[in-house]
């Protein structure tokens, strides 16, 4: 406990004595790491250095700098989390930031080199204290990076879902839904939700679902398909399934899936014709009129 207190006192003293040198070194390294690639402007690097040193002094001045619930520690953690987000948004690499954090730690240690008064026990305590703080900061940067990546992946998945299942009103009261790729449970839920809401809002009379883009089908997927067709019919609309390829038809038969209650047509075009026929719509060439 005494050596920890001592380590804090020595570090604060060193910081106060050598704040100019440390700040200059941090800024210099900041320019090398982020300035050349224009990830941060000169002003931002200066602000970063000043704020970091202020937060570091506040932490070392606190009751227990190793307590991660200490408000000063929390402030430092949030500061690094924000810097990480900022850099990642601008295309920065996590490795550069982690290396920079290692440099920050080293710059503190360098200040102790010339001080002959610091004994072995104190040096060990200072090393432990700094490693603990900076390891936690590196971890924070890593977690921020993971969270940002996760959010990006989720956003991309959402976008992909929306673009891969475009529901189009091809005619008054006729919706088309081409399904491409794999139809899993979560996708079925998303597609069904938007499709059923569209049927309700557009008062659609027919839905043509085209599965030409579905490469393979298993028991789960086929049940999702049947569930979708049933839900469409329950909304009072006609469901027409088109584009079932021979291999899919064979798979459906071997899976004992009964398509008896489902209207099927070979192509999307045939499906649309069927929808128009049911709605008493006649489409003809202008020259025929």
């Amino acid at each position: 406990m005494a050596s920890k207190q001592n380590a804090q006192t020595i570090l604060i003293e060193q910081l106060k004595l050598q704040v100019g040198n440390i700040s200059a070194a941090i800024e210099q390294q900041g320019h090398t790491a982020f300035g050349t690639s224009r990830l941060l402007s000169n002003d931002e690097i200066t602000d970063f250095s000043i704020e970091f040193l202020e937060l570091m002094v506040a932490l070392l001045d606190s009751k227990d700098p190793l307590n991660h619930r200490e408000p000063a520690f929390e402030a430092l953690r949030i500061f690094f989390s924000n810097v990480s987000k900022h850099l990642l948004i601008r295309g920065g690499k996590m490795d550069d930031l982690v290396r920079y954090i290692q440099f920050l730690q080293r710059s503190f240690l360098d200040t102790l080199q010339d001080d002959k008064k610091v004994g072995l026990d104190d040096t060990r305590a200072i090393l432990l204290l700094l490693s603990n703080i900076f390891n936690e900061l590196s971890l924070e940067v890593f977690q921020t990076y993971l969270k940002e990546k996760e959010q990006t992946i989720l956003a991309q998945q959402e976008e992909l879902r929306e673009t891969s299942t475009p529901i189009t009103e091809i005619w008054d009261g006729v919706l088309t839904l081409p399904i491409i790729g794999i139809l899993d449970s979560s996708r079925t839920m998303v597609v069904m939700e938007s499709l059923l809401n569209r049927i309700a809002s557009d008062r659609a009379k027919a839905v043509v679902m085209d599965v030409t883009g579905v490469r393979s089908i298993d028991s789960q997927v086929s049940h999702h398909l049947i569930q979708m067709m049933r839900a469409i019919q329950l909304m009072g609309a006609d469901a027409i399934l088109t584009g079932i390829r021979p291999e899919i038809a064979r798979a459906l038969t071997s899976l004992n899936i009964d398509l008896g209650n489902v209207t099927t047509r070979a192509t999307l075009s045939d499906g649309l014709k069927e929808a128009f026929r049911r709605m008493n719509i006649h489409v003809s060439a202008a020259s025929d009129i």
Partner: protein
Amino acid sequence: MSVSTKPSGYHLTPIGGGRFLLEPSTALDISSSEALLEEILQRLQRGKAQKLYYDLADLPLIEPRYYQWLNMLARACCAVNVAMACIRMQPTAAYALSSYMESSPDFSVEQGVREG
């Protein structure tokens, strides 16, 4: 043309051309389904009904028990030569129902009351 409100939790309204509109309220007690069924059928027969529209607009979910009630009513209507159609099913209800129903329902489904 009379609109009747029954304490059993539904409105049954003749809408012309032998058609009736049944609007259930949240107070509809389907636990005494047989008594309820008899009461509805009696009124349909008295009104010389040919078609019954069952309005599901206020039902965000249809549970298996409620689905069973709808099927039972549809079969009973069929027995007295009245066709039953459920109308204005909510997307949430359609989704839930499609996940557990195993065969086609005994009633037909339409988006709304057809012009008579």
